[in-house]
Symmetry: D3
């Protein structure tokens, strides 16, 4: 199966934070942002695989910067690595200053999708060809994250996670 | 500040999966489930603290079992541990068989919230008093998860994560 | 057909009143509350019968206490009596004080559902076994409400409504 | 305060039943219809009073005819009687045959609204002047329904409900 | 095919502008009004033809008067002319003063629909019989607008648009 | 006021067509697409001006290609010309083939926005600097479209529309 570049799956979404998306001090709900992330990254995974995809897992996400009502939020998703039938997708979230137009990165998340057929059985997906420095770094990190995911899901023993253990060993 | 039991923050939500919540083979979108999880657990954290709360982070979530359109989905959220101004909340998700009424656990997630004042500054919250065996187990695990969260967020060095390192050491 | 207790159909929903749910002095629309009541009680009737159910009627509902934007609203629905193929469901609605957590009952409604097959034909449902004092009282009142419903729907003559007439006679 | 005719408050709404408005055999949810009824009749009461209005109560509603997905539903609401600060509104619901255009009445409901000021205190509303035969019949029936409403709400004793008692006596 | 009057397709919708329908200075989004216009006029075209209809084009629309949050907006749509399988529909939009009930026309738009069968192939529709002065004027103008639409869509050359050219010639 | 390039206002949105967005033969509603166009182009105009913007008008839009449920739709909006306080924005709409990823242009629309202050008064906006061939062509056409818009809105006499008249003269 012929590989595809990360750029080919790039999916961009631009949203405005409306009153119903915010709590009563006017900050965007975390759950709403997660929903936007899921839609945007699912389209990216669909573009990479040309298949129906389902969300398999999301990794740790932190919400450090409150996003205010009326903000313009841009989500950019790209496949960062493909395994047999699963794809890891990175989503970068930016908020922009209305006056200066300056964009600030305010969140980042990693979702994993599986390509499936009509009965829900997994289908093979093309390998991912990283091009930029950042794409290569994310590609390399994907294996470690996959091990962590398998451990947290109870499907791998911690001492089998060679790459992840190195994280602790090197300190 | 007087402690509160986990039971006092128990929040239950019952949802029906509608057409717009599903992809084109009729499975619930992961992002929609995340949004329901966020709302339910935010109410639980609000009940524990009596404060406005904001989502601070979510830990790893996996979606192993597809949930079909028209399913009845029940979400149960309870605070599992409170730190100075943050609260870890566990959400258990169940799908039930329409005919037999049998409930199957299909997902589990952990969200962390911070109690804030009108200016977004953190406020102290009551300690959590675990009662059942499961509540005690989740209470104990919260410290380890907090370390992992701090490492992944770049705010703690791996070798300071005493509890987490033990996870790898003991294997 | 084996009976079921009211507790077995208990369905709980917890909602937050968002800006779009309120009129311009910030009170929850009556129609939105009715919609939440319908969903919650339909799930309860579905749990009792294990069948697809449709709303057959709602009885008189009054909205005495305004519910403000951002309030946490809890709905609790339980089947109160089952007839051949119809089920009466009671819904109790509570609003809670954010700071003290004190819950106040603010509404109560009674919806009736019919269990149907794929063609819309009625199907038999299990009898209801009341257990608590309140469940027994609601069970007994269901017959009188059914007569009132039939009269108001033009399907029973007032003087056939033995139980209902007693309401006026005893004064 | 100068009276107004029923016609002056006539409010018409035309809705299409979408997938998310229906259960899984494709029938409109009762709760969705109730929400449409509430919005339409609230606008009618607002037109009669020129004030902010809140839903005070709804009387018995029955759902005899299932409404299918894609149906065109028309709601027509008119104030049927005004009391000091409350207004009774009748809503007639029609479904039309797509091909012949023939409209069939499929539901009818009565909502009561109260006109309020910014603090929620009741405000006086103009009297209602019925014109057609049907408007006069609904105007006359309003008093009896009001008594029933007060009894069901525990604010009137059954034997004080002179008009309502006559309903049973005359059989 | 027997003709139908414009009145037979009259479709009325009454909407309240909610928080999520407005930008951050509280004015109704143009796109939301366009969506309401499309739904209302599609129902009118469906009533005229007794068929499934799809939006074929909209002509120039201007938004001169801002509509504020909480406003009551009434849309009235009527078929203004029918061609072989297409129908031109005029939509008039009114905003009313809450206190006086005075309605002001604030927008006007023209949408064109095509009646289609299950495969999307066009179906013939009844001719339109204009009755009032305004209906006749709109009926006459429809031909000129159709020429403009064909030119703008690149399907007619400007010098074939006899009626439209007259518009410039007569000045 | 310093000019800005078209590229600086580029706004991209990627949407999936859900069941509630379609009519009963599964085609996207025209009104829904208009709403997506309005949001996307309003953000582009906001990016160009750094101001709150309101929709002033939309030009003729035709819907030639039905868009099916589950399709991935991409909207790309860029300011094509700026006048004193108004901005013309072009929106290109693409549908992509799920398997091959091939994108087909299926719609194009032009919306005009005005930059305003808190009281709704117009504010000056930066001039637009076209760069590509297509941007230059759209920039040149904007004057002619503006004249047509003023004529259709009754604010310019046809014989004052020098550029527009040339369109007819040159044939």
């Amino acid at each position: 199966m012929k590989g595809k570049t990360a750029k080919e799956s790039l999916t961009i979404n631009t949203e405005v934070v409306l009153p119903n998306d915010t709590n009563h001090i006017g900050n965007l709900f975390g759950g709403k942002l997660l929903q936007w992330m899921d839609i945007t990254s699912a389209i990216a995974a669909g573009r990479h695989s040309g298949r129906v995809v389902v969300t398999a897992s999301i990794n740790h996400v932190s919400f450090d910067n409150p996003i205010k009502q009326n903000s313009v939020v841009t989500l950019e998703a790209k496949v960062s690595r493909a395994f047999t039938s699963s794809m890891e997708v990175h989503i970068d979230v930016f908020v922009e200053d209305r006056i200066t137009g300056h964009k600030t990165k305010c969140n980042e998340a990693i979702f994993t999708f599986v390509a499936i057929d009509q009965n829900g059985a997994p289908l093979p997906v093309p390998p991912l060809i990283p091009e930029t420095e950042e794409e290569k770094k994310r590609y390399d990190g994907a294996l470690r994250r996959r091990q962590l995911s398998l451990i947290l899901g109870g499907r791998m023993k911690p001492d089998e996670a060679t790459e992840l253990k190195a994280l602790f060993a090197k300190d």
